[in-house]
C-alpha cells in the first residue's frame, strides 16, 4: 500500500508526531501544512505554539517555530509581526489559551485587527493537564473538575469564540469554525485565514477537535461526539 505523502513543510525527524491516537491536532496541522505548501510560504512563515497539547507541535514543521507561555502566543505573534510585517505569523493555541488565560489577548488582537492568524483547537477541555473544565466545555459534559457533569448554573454557558469575536472584529477580518471531522473544509478556512493576513487583517479559525484520551471514547463514540459538537458549535464562516 502506498503511504500518504507528508506535506513538504513537515519535519520528518519529528514524525510520527507526539499527539495521541485519534487526536484532532494532527489533522489540523496536516491541513495547515498543505496550505503552507500550496501557497509556497514556508520561508515566510513563523509558527508559534501555546502551552497545552499545542506545544507538542513545537518541532512539527521545518518552519521558524517557537513555543511560548500559556495564553501568551497571540501577543508574541503580534510583537513579531510588528517587527517584521513581511512574515506570515501563525499563533496555534488551544481553547484554554485562546478563551481563558489568554482571552484578553485574543479579544484585543481581534479588536486592533492585528494582521496575524490564530488557530484555536477546541476539544472542549484542558487535555494536556488531564481533561479539566474549559470555557468551551458543553452542558452536562463530564470533565475531571466537573465529575458530575458541567452545569451552566454553576459555571456558566459554553464559550463560542468566533461568535463573540465577531462583535469586535474589523469588517475585513476573517472568522470561521471548522472541524477535524471535515478536513478539507477546515483547509479551505485556513487558506482564507492566511489570505486575510496577507491583506493586512486579523483572522481566527477554530477547529473542533477530538480528544478520545480525555473524552474516554472509542472510535464510534468519538465520531458521534464530534457530530454532537458540530450541532452545538455551528460550523462555517462568520464573516
Amino acid at each position: 500500500m502506498k503511504s500518504p505523502k507528508f506535506p513538504d513543510c513537515f519535519k520528518i525527524e519529528s514524525k510520527p508526531n507526539k499527539f495521541c491516537p485519534g487526536c484532532g491536532h494532527s489533522i489540523a496541522l496536516n491541513m495547515l501544512g498543505q496550505v503552507i505548501d500550496e501557497m509556497g510560504m514556508a520561508d515566510k512563515t513563523v509558527f508559534m505554539v501555546d502551552i497545552g497539547c499545542s506545544l507538542l507541535a513545537w518541532d512539527f514543521f521545518d518552519l521558524a517555530t517557537t513555543q511560548t507561555h500559556h495564553g501568551r502566543t497571540i501577543p508574541t505573534a503580534v510583537g513579531f509581526k510588528m517587527a517584521n510585517p513581511e512574515k506570515i505569523v501563525i499563533a496555534y493555541v488551544g481553547d484554554g489559551g485562546a478563551y481563558a488565560i489568554g482571552l484578553q489577548h485574543t479579544i484585543t488582537a481581534a479588536m486592533r485587527n492585528n494582521p496575524i492568524t490564530t488557530i484555536v483547537i477546541n476539544n472542549t477541555l484542558y487535555a494536556m493537564t488531564g481533561g479539566q473544565l474549559a470555557p468551551t466545555t458543553v452542558e452536562n459534559e463530564i470533565t475531571t473538575t466537573t465529575p458530575t457533569g458541567k452545569k451552566k448554573q454553576q459555571v456558566g454557558r459554553t464559550f463560542h469564540g468566533p461568535e463573540i469575536l465577531s462583535w469586535i472584529t474589523d469588517k475585513n477580518a476573517y472568522l470561521a469554525r471548522g472541524s477535524s471531522n471535515h478536513p478539507l473544509e477546515l483547509k479551505k478556512y485556513l487558506k482564507k485565514a492566511i489570505e486575510t493576513q496577507l491583506k493586512g487583517n486579523f483572522s481566527l479559525v477554530e477547529s473542533l477537535s477530538a480528544c478520545p484520551t480525555n473524552w474516554r471514547t472509542n472510535a464510534p463514540e468519538t465520531i458521534k461526539r464530534m457530530e454532537e459538537l458540530a450541532r452545538i458549535f455551528s460550523l462555517g464562516e462568520l464573516t
Binding site: 517555530t65 505573534a77 510583537g79 510588528m82 517587527a83 489577548h105
Partner: protein, 333 residues
C-alpha cells in the same frame, strides 16, 4: 524628567519598538516614545492590553531581530515576570526599565527599592539576567544607552532598575548621539525553540550551560563604584539613588575626619563580588543602607563572606537624606 531621558536614551541607543502598559511612575516613558513615533519613521509602539502582552510582544519583536523594550513598575513588574522568565529561558535580549514604586502589592506610586529581588530573580529561574541600578539622570541615559548593546551582545534579559524619584526628577543630561544595535533575527527558518521539556536531564543541562556562560562573562559585565574606600574603616553599601545620598553623606563625614567610604554595586546582577571583597577587606564596620528590608544585603551576603557583621539600616519604601545618613554614621563611628 527622568522618564523622558529614558525614552530619549532608548531612541539614541537604536531601539525600534516599545511595548508598554501605563503604570505610575513609569507612564511618561511610553508617552514620550509615542510622541517620537508620531514624528519619526522606522520606530513604533504598542500600548498593550496588559503587562503580559507588553512583555511577550517585546519578546516577539526581539525574536524577529528588532531591538525592543518595555517599561513598568511594581505590580506591573510582577505580571511581567511571566515574559521575563521566558526571555531568560530562550535567551531573548529584552530590555526593561523598572521604575520602582512602593512595595507590597499596589502600595504607593512614589518610590522604593523593593523590586530588587523581583527584578534580579523573578520567575521560576536562576536569575540569568543583567540588572543596572542607576543613581542619577545622567546614568539613566548612559546605562539605557548601554543596556541595548549589552543585551544583544550577551543575550541575557537586561534591566534598567531605577525608581519613582529618578523617574520624575528634572535636570540636565548630556546625550551621546545615535547608534545602531547589532541585532539579528533569532527565530528564523528551521529554528525550533521551546522552553518546555520532557526529561529532567534536558533542562538540567540547559540551566548548567547558562550558569557556566553567565559565570564566564560576568566579569566583563559587572560594574561598581568605590568612593573614598581607600583607608576607610567604615564602608557604607548602597545602590541606586540611596547611593547618591550616601555619597553626599560620605563627603560630610570625611570633613569631620571620619574614615568612611561608599561601595556601590552598579550591576546588581551579576553582582560585582570581587570588587566588593576588595572594598570590604579592611573594613572594621560595614553598613548597608536601602529602601527595602534587606534585599540588597541579601545579594551581598549571597556572594561575599563578610569580615564583620553587617549593620543594617533599612527603610522599606522610604527615601534617605544625606543628613540622616550622616547622623546615623556619626553615632557608630
Amino acid at each position: 524628567m527622568g522618564n523622558y531621558v529614558l525614552a530619549n536614551a532608548a531612541k539614541d541607543a537604536g531601539a525600534k519598538i516599545m511595548f508598554g502598559y501605563p503604570i505610575t511612575p513609569a507612564s511618561e516613558i511610553l508617552e514620550k516614545w509615542a510622541l517620537f513615533c508620531s514624528k519619526s519613521k522606522g520606530i513604533s509602539y504598542l500600548q498593550a492590553e496588559d503587562e503580559m502582552a507588553a512583555g511577550f510582544g517585546m519578546i516577539g519583536a526581539c525574536l524577529a531581530g528588532v531591538p525592543a523594550f518595555t517599561a513598568t513598575a511594581g505590580p506591573g513588574n510582577v505580571l511581567m515576570q511571566d515574559a521575563f522568565s521566558m526571555a531568560e529561558a530562550l535567551r531573548v535580549p529584552t530590555v526593561a526599565m523598572i521604575m520602582q514604586r512602593g512595595g507590597l502589592s499596589t502600595s504607593t506610586v512614589i518610590y522604593s527599592q523593593e523590586e530588587v529581588r523581583l527584578t534580579c530573580f523573578g520567575g521560576n529561574g536562576e536569575g540569568f539576567r543583567i540588572v543596572y541600578s542607576t543613581a542619577n539622570l545622567q546614568e539613566l541615559y548612559d546605562y539605557t544607552f548601554k543596556a541595548f548593546e549589552i543585551a544583544w551582545q550577551y543575550r541575557f534579559p537586561t534591566f534598567l532598575l531605577a525608581d519613582g524619584y529618578q523617574a520624575k526628577m528634572m535636570g540636565k543630561v548630556t546625550m551621546k548621539g545615535t547608534k545602531k544595535v547589532k541585532a539579528e533575527p533569532i527565530l528564523k527558518k528551521d529554528v525550533n525553540l521551546r522552553n518546555c521539556f520532557n526529561r529532567e536531564e534536558e533542562i538540567n543541562e540547559i540551566i548548567n550551560n547558562y550558569r557556566k556562560e553567565y559565570q564566564k562573562v560576568r566579569a566583563e559585565i559587572e560594574e561598581d563604584e568605590s568612593y573614598q574606600t581607600k583607608g576607610a574603616k567604615i564602608i557604607l553599601i548602597a545602590h541606586g539613588i540611596v547611593a547618591a545620598a550616601t555619597k553626599s553623606a560620605v563627603d560630610m563625614l570625611r570633613k569631620k575626619k571620619i574614615a568612611v567610604g561608599l561601595f556601590r554595586p552598579i550591576t546588581l546582577r551579576p553582582f560585582p563580588a570581587q570588587a566588593a571583597i576588595k572594598a570590604l577587606k579592611r573594613a572594621e564596620k560595614i553598613v548597608v543602607l536601602e529602601s527595602a528590608e534587606g534585599q540588597l544585603a541579601n545579594l551581598l551576603k549571597d556572594e561575599v563572606l563578610l569580615p564583620t557583621p553587617l549593620i543594617e539600616y533599612y527603610k522599606p519604601a522610604m527615601g534617605f537624606t544625606p543628613e540622616e545618613i550622616y547622623n546615623e554614621i556619626t553615632k557608630i563611628s
